[in-house]
């Protein structure tokens, strides 16, 4: 029993002298903008994908470790009234898609199409190895807008069926 106490004391000594629930440590490698978006993500959620005014974009692949779903709701003025996202991916991917939803709100569709991955990367100070996250966010915006435009071309019944999720095909509107 004394031996057990001695071991317990040695364990205390070699552990850092702090109690378990102190303040969290500094994440040295992430930029604070990324951490901010990650800890307080804006616009997480879902819109009704069968709504005729909602465009849904689903990009990426689980095998690559990055999947983003971005939805936009366009009001009668042609401006994006609401945007929601969900992401399976690293902190930078979550931050990129969160920032994307923030930026598209209030813009028209044409203005939203102008958002570039480089703008997202600069805002979040993404390192080179994480630049593909911002590219995927740009693709997600474009996919959502493309889905919305296609829905407008079809009739109301077809719009309901087009949830954007059957084939998540990569769209480029240039």
């Amino acid at each position: 029993m004394l031996y057990g106490l001695y071991m317990a004391f040695l364990r205390r000594l070699s552990c850092p002298l702090l109690s378990v629930c102190r303040q969290p440590s500094v994440l040295a490698d992430y930029h604070k903008n990324v951490i901010d978006h990650y800890e307080n993500p804006r616009n997480v959620g879902a819109l009704d994908k069968e709504d005729s005014k909602v465009g849904t974009g689903l990009v990426g692949a689980p095998a690559c470790g990055d999947v983003m779903k971005l939805q936009i709701k366009v009001d009668d003025d042609g401006r994006i009234a609401d945007a929601k996202f969900k992401t399976f991916g690293c902190g930078s991917a979550i931050a990129s898609s969160s920032l994307a939803t923030e930026w598209v709100k209030g813009k028209t569709i044409d203005e939203a199409l102008k958002i570039k991955n480089s703008d997202i990367a600069n805002e979040l100070c993404l390192p080179p190895v994480k630049l593909h996250c911002s590219m995927l966010a740009e693709d997600a915006i474009k996919a959502a807008l493309s889905n919305y435009r296609e829905k407008q071309k079809k009739g109301p019944k077809e719009q309901q069926q087009d949830t954007g999720l059957k084939t998540a095909v990569h769209h480029h509107l240039r």
């Binding site: 000594l13 969900k86 399976f88 991917a93």
Partner: protein, 443 residues
């Protein structure tokens, strides 16, 4: 003064002050200014023992004399400084040998398991290359073994990389079929550093001895944690790493069997130290540290194993009870309990690591590697790539406390639930969509 510091430290930890023998050196803390002190306090819990282990205080005690007063070169034959260093090195050699039931003449000190692996794979293959040009290894070996094999292939050797079963274990029949008349070496690690599975070392040793093929095992994660007997298990070469068994970094050893004698071509030329196999001044303080770490591990092995097994069981049970769709990677029975590799479906590994910011962990996810490729060990198990991206490795060691384990489990459960709420894959699965039916856009 020292007693006051101890009492202050103990009262901060919330326990009654104790009488402490003054020999223990770790409690002396130099004066620091306030900002430094605060920074030091914000340290994460350490749950990454497979990467490296904290040094046992008793190891540091053993090393200190050789860093201050007894600084002689152990190869200096003409004065007392050299003689005392040499004596210390030989004592350490005996301790390392005792841990694996070897003879001290069979232990060669190196700079670490990477160097030991290089010596074993390249040294043996090159020595016997006149008549034998084939080497067998597995797909889940450590990078240094795989890279050494690749270097051998460039020199004209044939290398077979055996696949493993989905539980991470090697199928012995597959190994038997891979043997050729010109096979000189089989290299298979004892305990995998990523998933913790324990390979059937004794059986593999038996197969190799029958066919007179040398058997090398990278036992960096096994030495000091599992009982090893090089003669009973028919092991011809074994790699040992100092910093995986609570010893110092920068030192390791290689065991080279004498009966039957294994000949090795030296990689490093020089003054012929360490029986000509590894020239260079033996770093006395590091080697003494390794010896002390081995002796301590021999004493503590059984107790550590019991304690870590029960902690790991609590941890896994708690997580499995509170979170669905969690996979434990690697065989459930034949494993080292202190290495727990879990895949949390629909949640990406790096984002979970970011959430668990006050715990030091590692992941098999692509996003944590510089090459953006998910862990090759997990891929060799044949698990889905998205599960490879969702894996986290929890390491429990001698100094891991129950409180740390509970805290980690609770935070993990909390953040997995939060990240699943943010995950489109989880949403789709909840709606009943089969993820395999979706055509994903490639990037």
């Amino acid at each position: 003064m020292l007693r006051k510091t101890l009492q202050a430290a103990a009262s901060r930890l919330g326990s009654a002050p104790r009488q402490v023998p003054l020999r223990l050196s770790t409690v002396a803390r130099p004066a620091q200014d306030h900002a430094d002190k605060q920074k030091e306090e914000l340290r994460p819990l350490y749950m990454d023992v497979q990467a490296t282990t904290p040094m046992d205080p008793r190891v540091l005690d053993a090393m200190l004399p050789y860093l201050v007063g007894s600084y002689g070169n152990p190869h200096s034959r003409t004065h007392a400084y050299g003689w005392e260093s040499e004596a210390a090195v030989e004592k350490a050699r005996q301790k390392v040998a005792d841990l694996i039931a070897a003879d001290p003449r069979e232990i060669i000190f190196t700079s670490g398991a990477t160097e030991s692996n290089n010596i074993a794979v390249k040294g043996v293959a090159r020595f016997y290359k006149q008549r034998k040009k084939h080497v067998i290894t597995t797909q889940t070996e450590h990078k240094c073994v795989l890279d050494s094999c690749r270097a051998l292939e460039a020199e004209g050797f044939a290398v077979t990389y055996l696949p493993v079963k989905s539980n991470g274990l090697l199928d012995l029949k597959v190994l038997e079929q891979a043997f050729r008349p010109e096979t000189s070496l089989v290299s298979i690690m004892a305990v995998n550093n990523e998933i913790g599975v324990v390979q059937p070392i004794a059986e593999i040793g038996g197969l190799c001895r029958e066919r007179k093929v040398f058997f090398h095992t990278d036992a960096a994660q096994a030495v000091g944690k599992l009982p090893l007997d090089v003669n009973a298990m028919n092991i011809d070469l074994m790699s040992i790493s100092g910093h995986k068994l609570y010893g110092p970094k920068g030192v390791g050893a290689i065991f080279v069997q004498r009966r039957p004698r294994v000949r090795v071509e030296a990689l490093q030329s020089g003054g012929g130290q360490e029986r000509g196999l590894r020239s260079g001044t033996v770093p006395t303080h590091l080697v003494v540290g390794l010896g002390a770490a081995c002796a301590i591990s021999q004493q503590e092995m059984e107790y550590d194993h019991k304690r870590i097994s029960s902690l790991a069981k609590c941890f896994i049970d708690k997580i499995m009870e509170n979170v669905s769709d969690v996979h434990l990677n690697g065989d459930l029975e034949r494993r080292y309990p202190g290495c727990v590799n879990l895949s949390f479906a629909f949640v990406e590994g790096e984002s979970l690591l970011m959430a668990l910011k006050d715990v030091a962990l590692s992941s098999g996810s692509a996003c944590t590697s510089a090459s953006l490729e998910p862990s090759y060990v997990l891929r060799a198990l044949g698990i889905n790539e998205d599960l490879a991206h969702s894996s986290i490795r929890f390491g429990l060691g001698r100094f891991t406390t129950e409180r740390e384990v509970y805290y980690t489990a609770e935070k993990c459960i909390q953040h997995v639930k939060r990240l699943r709420e943010m995950s489109p894959l989880w949403e789709m699965v909840q709606e009943g969509i089969d993820l395999k039916s979706i055509q994903w856009s490639q990037h």
